[in-house]
Point group: C2
Chain length 195, copies 2
DNA sequence: CCTACCGATCGGTAGG
DNA sequence: CCTACCGATCGGTAGG
């Protein structure tokens, strides 16, 4: 039951802020607009939060956390590299699709964070990068992937396709994250060229 | 000779605005900051421009134009689909790489444009989409690409990789747009899987 | 959660 | 291109 009436006020603020920040941008959203959408006055927000930047930090942190929780458990699993790639792309795209607003804020506004929060996000980016590089390396070593692949370029190719979904995915459309992940993975694994 | 001292003032304003908008975001950049970097007072800017939004419109329009000029001439050329794909990706990535600031503004701030400018950008996006879908369709019909490809998904795969370069390309790095385009195209065409 | 208010800063203009 | 200024709005606070 999304948006149940008993949802804590802080959750409501987080959700509305995610939507407004993603639609208009962080700096272009005023605290009065945010308060208005929640049916309260501007100053009343500060009974629940510490400040505008805290909202941004929360949104970005939660997004990072969701990516971590989705991908990290895959590291230990003993799957063939092609299956693991398909599964990782599916999970990655699911996080984006299920959190289109926070994902947009995550990709657009992380540069505007305070130095500490900025460093944390940069650290997360590196973690995800490493995850995909490891996946590619393992695939090469196990003989599932071509031996002449450049690990860095390959992981960038994968990251491009899964991250870019935040720009075009529509929840009301016909494509599910499963469809997208399977379609992209199949093309990436087998190539476009006719045999 | 970039940034020659005789560069028209309007060009200088355009360049500095692109950089500031891409680094801090459109709304977070004040006209006084912009003026300061150009060695003038805030009000003096309005001797050269009509307003802040005009700057954004100019940056986005010029970026759209560069994509158009790079890709559109390829439409008529009678190249094999794989060669045409490689060439299109190279040109697309070159535009991004040569205009990292305006490309970032283009991808991040187009939502904040006035309705008319917004519609123009949306129209451009559709044009580029059509370009890549045509390229894929031609490749299927000529037998160069697999017949079971989904045209929409395939063009989204391509667009993801070329557009996402705005987030990670570094002009001071070792990879050239040629390297990136050739590397991505080869992987997309032949696939990651070992034979 | 509201009312009333703070200093700061915003984009933009007038007149030179 | 500068000085001086405009009304509007910003994030945030005090006191209740």
């Amino acid at each position: 039951m999304p948006d149940s009436p008993t949802k804590p006020r802080r959750e409501q603020i987080h959700d509305v802020a995610s939507r407004l920040f993603s639609e208009r941008g962080y700096h272009a959203t005023s605290m009065r607009e945010l308060a208005g959408e929640l049916g309260m006055q501007g100053g009343s927000l500060y009974a629940h939060i510490n400040g505008k930047e805290d909202l941004l930090v929360q949104i970005v942190n939660r997004a990072s956390q969701q990516f971590d929780e989705a991908l990290f458990p895959l590291r230990g699993q003993n799957l063939p590299a092609d299956d693991k790639l398909r599964e990782a792309m599916h999970r990655h795209i699911m996080v984006v699709a299920d959190n289109m607003d926070s994902a947009t804020v995550f990709f657009h506004e992380w540069k505007h964070l305070s130095p500490e929060a900025y460093a944390r996000v940069t650290g997360w980016r590196d973690t995800i990068d490493r995850f995909y590089r490891e996946l590619v390396s393992e695939g090469i070593q196990s003989g599932v992937f071509r031996p002449d692949l450049d690990v860095k370029m390959t992981s960038l190719l994968i990251l491009s396709t899964v991250n870019w979904t935040y720009t075009w995915f529509r929840p009301e459309g016909t494509l599910t994250p499963r469809d997208i992940a399977d379609g992209f993975a199949e093309m990436i694994l087998s190539g476009l060229r006719a045999r």
